[in-house]
């Protein structure tokens, strides 16, 4: 049997599971909303100041929400033994990992991106910045999911993997957040922003190529114990 129909049924299973876990998956989105709402309350309600911070606030919120949901990426599969079967499958495990990460992005990164315009209006971000904000968030959350999957795989066998995951992955998220906010801030300030966006796209492509390999290697360690 050929590769694609198989991958399609794997994809269907992941989407089904995401749908049945929708309350778990709604949490990071709510968290995102709360973080963004707390900022004006905690810092200043002054719309002009908020507008300066808006790209950063939205990005930090998206990053934290993504991190929050990463711990679930492989955990239930590890616990019920499905992960072993994934590594023994006739499909290359990298394709399965890619499939899982893609679904993870579809159910966290994409909704975050879609929520962003609403919140950016609340933070007083000029409407002209919206398309670029959404584009960078979409690209950025995809690379966050990809890089994060390595950390999730490294910590999946551990009892208290969640906190460790944060420590492992946070430093690796630095470039994503810098280029992501950099692009939007540059555009708001009327400066050229294309270079930031290009770097972000390059990072996403690079992690698309590398992270599945490393994730599978890490999963083999977790399962091999």
């Amino acid at each position: 049997m050929t590769f694609l129909p198989l991958l399609r049924s794997v994809f269907r299973r992941e989407m089904q599971l995401a749908y049945r876990r929708r309350s778990d998956l709604a949490n990071p989105l709510l968290f995102f909303l709360i973080v963004v709402v707390l900022f004006p309350l905690g810092v200043t309600p002054d719309m002009t100041k908020l507008a300066d911070m808006a790209p950063g606030v939205l990005w930090v919120g998206a990053l934290l929400a993504n991190l929050l949901s990463l711990d679930l990426l492989f955990r239930s599969d590890y616990e019920d033994g499905s992960l072993e079967q994934m590594l023994l499958a006739s499909l290359p495990p990298t394709s399965l990992v890619l499939c899982k990460v893609w679904v993870h992005w579809l159910v966290t990164g994409l909704p975050l991106t879609i929520m962003a315009p609403l919140l950016s209006i609340m933070l007083g971000l000029p409407g002209s910045a919206l398309p670029l904000l959404m584009l960078t968030l979409a690209l950025g959350t995809l690379s966050l999911s990809l890089i994060g999957s390595i950390g999730a795989a490294l910590t999946v066998g551990l009892q208290k993997g969640g906190l460790l995951l944060t420590l492992l992955i946070m430093p690796l998220f630095v470039p994503v957040i810098i280029f992501g906010t950099g692009a939007v801030q540059a555009q708001v300030a009327g400066l050229p922003w294309q270079a930031h966006l290009a770097m972000l796209a390059a990072m996403t492509t690079g992690s698309l190529a590398l992270s599945p390999l490393l994730t599978v290697a890490a999963l083999r360690i977790a399962v091999g114990d």
């Binding site: 066998g157 460790l164 420590l167 430093p171 810098i178 360690i221």
Partner: protein
């Protein structure tokens, strides 16, 4: 030629051989490092002239720059050793890589703290979100992550391989992090030493500075060796020769 190399490689991959061979090395490296660092610091602190712009605070350079160098060099070493360990399944590479972590982390911490202390009289602030400070902070976090991952794993062998993967991801990311934070770069002076240009420092500052760098290199190697020898004893404790060695230690106490 190739076979000789393979034989040499195999010899080096044997923990017992390494343990025996490294004993004099760690001793002499340690003493050489002590002497060189002592000489460099006496020279640098007491005899090198005052710097025109920064006054005497520049004397922090004799530990700040070497520790910053070492923290990056050691990270690179960890990644290379991790790759060697993963590809050739060489236990010894993992042992060395693991024991590089605390040494490298201490160097990164030293570079950050001395940098902050130096920043206060020079820039008037303890901390600045500038490119080098930020990427050094990220490096320190990566070191902490590596160590935490090692300690979290139940089997040390899994810890070795997991940390090697993380180190590799980090090493791919370090240049990107460095490059990315340079976009909001501000205060830090450009690199003090460049291989392509003549050094701008006066020889009476440059010589103790170079000595300090060499001394820190030697000291780090000595520390890593010492630690690796203990790691070998701990990980191979079931083998006959380690038991003999530990018996010898216990009697000598």
């Amino acid at each position: 030629m190739w076979q000789a190399f393979v034989r040499w490689f195999h010899k080096w991959s044997s923990p017992k051989w390494f343990y025996t061979m490294s004993q004099p090395w760690s001793f002499w490296l340690g003493w050489a490092a002590t002497l060189i660092i002592a000489a460099a610091l006496v020279w640098g602190l007491m005899f090198a002239p005052v710097e025109r712009l920064q006054g005497n605070s520049y004397r922090i350079i004799f530990i700040h720059v070497p520790s910053a160098f070492l923290s990056q060099a050691i990270y690179a070493a960890i990644a290379v050793l991790g790759l060697v360990g993963l590809v050739w399944k060489m236990k010894l590479a993992f042992f060395v890589a693991k024991q590089c972590i605390p040494v490298g982390a201490s160097m990164a911490l030293l570079a950050l703290v001395t940098g902050a202390i130096w920043g206060k009289p020079t820039w008037g602030t303890w901390w600045e979100w500038d490119a080098r400070l930020t990427s050094m902070l990220v490096l320190l976090l990566l070191y902490f992550g590596l160590w935490a991952l090692h300690n979290a794993m139940e089997r040390p062998e899994s810890g070795d391989r997991a940390a090697a993967i993380l180190a590799l991801v980090g090493v791919v990311n370090l240049p990107i992090i460095k490059f990315s934070v340079e976009w909001w770069n501000t205060l830090h002076q450009p690199a003090t030493l460049k291989f392509t240009e003549a050094p701008p420092m006066h020889p009476s500052m440059l010589i103790p500075f170079l000595m300090a760098i060499v001394g820190f290199y030697l000291a780090s190697m000595a520390w890593v060796l010492m630690r690796t020898r203990l790691e070998i004893l701990q990980r191979e404790r079931k083998s006959r020769w380690v038991e003999d060695e530990l018996n010898r230690f216990a009697e000598g106490q």
